[in-house]
């Protein structure tokens, strides 16, 4: 039987160390909504999402109440809209109409984000893919809750450099369209290499075409819990350090598994995966950077940061994998800048640069995330940053992503404020030298030799 000490430990994780379930994400396939008539398509999309998800928020709240564990977000991911709209959309405006439908149904059922305004173009773009991509700036400006993602490369296909070039321009344009709000649109837009089909986290969640009609995916969080556990083993060797992280990750992930199974049972939707994640928030103490400091660094970004992050990421997976029957998504420590007070402090102290962040993305999920750069950064430079990150993902057979915000009108040293979970961030310096001739070559970078495993 459970004892008092264990009960107190769990509840302290929840009340003092910000343990929560970050998101229950309901994946919904829209493949059966495809129609060549735009009006009918929009009606079918609305109907399918509404029917599937009208009980999602209430069920999430009941689970939270029954177990006394906060479930921060209830979200929806759908089949990449480039595929769904292909038969009906002739103009960018047609795609924007679908974005508005998604936004409307998201408001109606009460979820805070809906992901899947997406295109998968890792090898090539169809006209529909390109149309959707070109509609992203407008779609993100006229909607509130729609999130967009584009898969630009994979280990198996290489990197679609035409799409990388285009996305540099789209990111800039999205920033311009939402410049009144510190270019907030870019916070809802992410590009990937090796994008997973079952990611529950925004902005990159979409419901892959290999998935079932509906599925429940859950993302857990608990940087504060890991940090607190590590304060008790200060000065101990790496074995003790790693064991402590592993055990803590196990406990955190078990909560995610429980919530995922309950949500699946109560909604009558199959359980997909638990994403073994350490996802920070701007709340004090809910920081991955603070864990790195607890491991022994003065600031995130100091020499040793990549090694510390590598071990953290690995132990989180090792602990989490036994705690859940199915794992997937992005799984690992997230290192967004604006959503993590420790990361913000490191940038402001001059300890963390974009180049060091890039190195860190080699060993963790996901990539350059919520990084704010000067508004005058050129589209080609953003494409160059994207290409670098895609190359890391492609060669290391892992997911990498870029969610970069060129804040219009802002310079290095300024701060932008997104509010809520998205936090605030200092504008970071970008390498000023040009990569334009590289980006303008066009075509695609071939898949690496070690991808040929057949």
């Amino acid at each position: 039987m459970i004892n008092l000490r264990e009960v107190v430990e769990t509840n302290e994780m929840i009340t003092k160390e910000n343990l929560d379930v970050r998101t229950i994400t309901l994946g919904i396939s829209l493949l059966d909504c495809i129609d060549s008539d735009l009006k009918r398509l929009n009606e079918k999309i609305y109907q399918k999402i509404y029917e599937a998800s009208r009980d999602l928020v209430e069920t999430g709240e009941k689970i939270a109440r029954d177990f006394g564990i906060p479930i921060v977000n209830k979200r929806i991911s759908v089949t990449p809209i480039a595929l769904i709209g292909g038969a009906a959309c002739r103009t960018e405006e047609d795609y924007v109409a679908i974005a508005k439908t998604l936004d409307k149904v998201a408001h109606e059922v009460g979820v805070n984000f809906i992901g899947g305004y997406s295109a998968l173009v890792c090898k090539g773009m169809t006209p529909a893919d390109e149309l959707l991509i070109r509609s992203i700036p407008k779609a993100l400006a006229v909607t509130e809750r729609v999130c967009s993602s584009v898969n630009l490369g994979s280990t198996k296909t290489g990197i679609n450099m035409d799409a990388v070039k285009l996305m540099g321009e789209i990111v800039k344009e999205t920033a311009e369209y939402t410049k009144e709000n510190d270019s907030l649109g870019c916070a809802k837009l992410v590009v990937f290499c090796n994008a997973p089909d079952d990611n529950p986290f925004m902005a990159g969640a979409f419901h892959g075409v290999t998935e079932a009609d509906k599925i429940i995916n859950v993302g857990v969080s608990g940087p504060g819990v890991v940090k607190t556990a590590l304060t008790k083993v200060r000065g101990e060797n790496f074995e003790v350090l790693c064991e402590t992280i592993k055990k803590t990750a196990f406990k955190v992930t078990r909560v995610g598994q429980l919530v995922a199974q309950e949500a699946s049972r109560r909604l009558g939707v199959p359980f997909g995966i638990v994403d073994l994640s350490l996802a920070p928030t701007p709340a004090i103490g809910d920081s991955v950077a603070d864990i790195l400091c607890e491991i022994g660094l003065e600031y995130a970004g100091a020499p040793g940061t990549t090694a510390a992050l590598a071990l953290l990421n690995d132990q989180v997976k090792k602990g989490g994998v036994m705690a859940s029957s199915y794992v997937g998504g992005l799984s690992g420590a997230f290192i967004p800048v604006s959503e993590d007070q420790g990361m913000i402090n490191a940038v402001e102290a001059g300890a963390l640069t974009l180049e060091k962040l890039e190195a860190m993305t080699c060993v963790c999920s996901v990539g350059l995330d919520m990084v704010v750069v000067p508004g005058e950064t050129s589209a080609a430079t953003i494409s160059g940053m994207i290409a670098d990150e895609m190359a890391i993902g492609m060669v290391n057979q892992k997911t990498t992503a870029v969610r970069v915000i060129p804040a219009i009108g802002k310079k290095v040293g300024d701060t932008v404020e997104f509010g809520g979970l998205l936090g605030h961030a200092p504008v970071m310096a970008v390498n000023p030298y040009s990569c334009e001739a590289f980006v303008n070559r066009g075509g695609r970078i071939p898949a690496p030799i070690h991808s040929f495993k057949n």
Partner: protein, 90 residues
């Protein structure tokens, strides 16, 4: 039917257990186990209870106990046992 864990955390005062037990008795909630300790100067009590005979919805019990806690000046939670079981037992 899984049990429910009720926890009471706060400064020790006279009659905490009496007030909680009265509420449980009035609502046909059976106490199966009870333990308490003082952690860092704070009163920590845990009850394992069975709510299956109660006519009240679980959500109402959670809210009632929360309000009772506010009245007494302690924090009272009711949570389904599975969260602790899952976390601490393989």
């Amino acid at each position: 039917m899984k049990n429910t864990i009720i926890t009471v955390v706060g400064k020790d005062t006279v009659g905490i257990i009496a007030r909680v037990c009265t509420y449980l008795a009035e609502n046909q909630i059976n106490i199966e186990d009870i333990s308490q300790t003082i952690v860092q100067g704070y009163f920590n009590m845990m009850m394992i209870v069975d709510t299956s005979a109660s006519e009240k919805h679980f959500g109402t019990i959670v809210e009632d106990l929360h309000s009772l806690g506010e009245e007494i000046g302690v924090e009272i939670k009711a949570q389904k046992e599975e969260i602790f079981d899952k976390m601490h037992r393989i």
